[in-house]
Symmetry: C2
Subunit: 357 residues, 2 copies
């Protein structure tokens, strides 16, 4: 099992996703500031993994707080939450995880005056978020497996696998692993996903490790492989899903969705409920992170572009709901109109059993 | 003026497009075999530039032939034409240029028994092909300028500029330069164009040199910039255009065409008449070159992908005619039905004056 992020006695252990697959290097992060930096620098990436890492980072920071009173601890905690919330703006799981930690803090504060008890509860909450993420991805895999036919070739963009989550199954790759574990033969075409090359580096590595057949293509080949009839279904992850189903995901996802529609290929989004942001009416309200132009102009430190060239580097784009065939969550599969189906999944977890068909 | 390929007294001088823009290195090729190798290895690329280089290479090889009789020279010449024709399969300008050289050889052979005269005529023919390419691109620029409005932002894919032709204007970038020279303000968004990064490395370099505002994006951002209303028109080059207007061009062109249609953005192909292959009924008959997987898995020699991963690396795709708003040639602008308009341009050069509107 791939361990993306792990709570240990020494600190938070993370696989360094910047150097995979040519190096399998693990970092031991011993302070919450190091965790925030790791999120910002994309040592760890993927919306659910960011959420889990942020929760662990806050738990680590709280446990190291020298505050003698609950009020002192709360000051430290609040500051950590704010800084952690400024690492990456688009993945809503980050804010969801911080909110979970804050709620737990408040709950404990009303029950105890013991700084040590509150610290322990925050570590417990981070562990829970970790465990729940693993379980959510298994559920996504079970629901999603029903949407994949034996012999299908699935195109995926970026990495929405073990490395984008707490580990194990992943979201979009969870659907693929779910189909495989349900006895279906499934092959994958992975977009390489510039500029960070999550597909070429991470998805390829994960799937090869799992003996799932994978072929990597450059992003601009997605149209060509669909035109040539090589893709049966598209499954991608999500960084934030608005109330109407509009989905922010890795830059290029929108392009893949347009191509899938053109070729009448089903286009599925796979994400845990923690990726839903029902406070937003539509995708237009989702903040899109702009990253350093050097990610485009330089590859592993090597300059590829002319000096001083202007570059655009939005990390995400928004796929409008009308291009999405269904959204596969850990509580079941939502279909249009998403404004109703997503709200139903969010409020009524009992729908999970009936929404598989 | 950018000099892509040049006939000199010492040999054929080429700018090495593999190392641009971080190195501006010129190679002096002193044998026809070196020219063939340079085409294969993409020292020089772009359909018109390949045609010009092949013609020069054959002229160079013929001029170095030690054959004492016309028959000996013809043996050498025929062999060189065959090897040169095996360098790259998709760009039809290669075969067109070889055919031009062969026709000239046959014409001279019927007039003279002098090996030296035939050699001189072949050098003359290669020079003519070079000069005609420069003139053709200027004409494309004039015709294309009418299709660009003042203030337009043009998205282009790959490099169809000076570096893709004999030099100077280029085809798709010729349209942009034509608009600029007609007094229009024009900005460019350049797809980086993996795996060879012609956009990031070459188009950005060319346009920056020419003070034309250019912003580079990764290929998977093309949908996003269109969705955000940043693109008014798309202009791309071509490697081969079938009789019905279906166009083979750099991998990813099809994707851009689908996105342009989705956003109701005009999609233009710019290419000289030598890129037309009216012997082919449709794009399905165009041979698509598959290149080494290392172009995808390695960037400037650095391994990015897991060992042994499967990769698809078609160098081109085919854009069907129904996604093409117009084809801008050196003899005028062709519109659907292309089966008629292209044939008319090919046979009747006098249409040029009237087809500008």
């Amino acid at each position: 099992m791939i361990k993306t992020v792990e709570w240990t006695n020494e600190g938070i252990r993370m696989i360094d996703q910047r150097v995979l697959p040519t190096e399998e290097k693990y970092l031991m992060l011993r302070s919450w500031e190091e965790v925030a930096e790791a999120i910002k620098k994309m040592v760890v990436r993927g919306a659910p993994a960011i959420g889990v890492s942020a929760a662990m980072g806050i738990a680590l920071g709280a446990s190291q707080s020298v505050g003698m009173s609950v009020a002192d601890l709360e000051d430290d905690f609040t500051y950590m939450c704010r800084v952690m919330g400024e690492t990456r703006p688009t993945a809503v799981n980050l804010f969801w995880a911080i909110e979970r930690m804050r709620e737990r803090f408040n709950r404990e504060k009303s029950k105890t005056n013991s700084v040590e008890e509150i610290k322990a509860s925050l570590v417990d909450e981070a562990q829970k978020i970790f465990q729940e993420d693993i379980a959510a991805n298994r559920a996504i895999g079970r629901f999603g497996a029903d949407l994949i036919a034996d012999g299908d070739t699935v195109l995926t963009h970026c990495n929405a696998g073990a490395l984008a989550t707490a580990g194990d199954y992943g979201t979009a790759l969870g659907v693929i692993r779910g189909a495989r574990d349900a006895g279906k033969r499934v092959a994958v075409i992975a977009d390489e996903t510039r500029p960070f090359l999550q597909g070429l580096r991470l998805t390829a590595w994960e799937l090869a490790k799992d003996d799932i057949p994978v072929t990597v293509i450059t992003d601009n080949m997605a149209g060509s492989v669909m035109q040539n009839g090589k893709v049966n279904v598209v499954v991608v992850g999500a960084d934030r899903i608005a109330g109407n189903g509009d989905t922010a995901n890795k830059i290029g996802t929108y392009m893949v969705a347009v191509l899938a529609r053109k070729h009448e290929i089903p286009f599925y989004v796979a994400a845990p409920i923690s990726t839903l942001d029902l406070t937003l009416k539509s995708g237009r309200e989702i903040p899109i992170e702009q990253r350093d132009s050097k990610e485009v102009t330089h590859i592993r430190g090597q300059q590829m572009a002319p000096d001083g060239i202007k570059v655009s580097n939005p990390a995400f784009d928004v796929t409008p709901n009308d291009l999405i065939t269904a959204i596969i969550t850990d509580r079941g599969v939502a279909r249009a109109p998403y404004i109703e189906s997503l709200r139903k999944l969010m409020t009524d977890s009992s729908t999970a059993a009936t929404s598989r068909d």
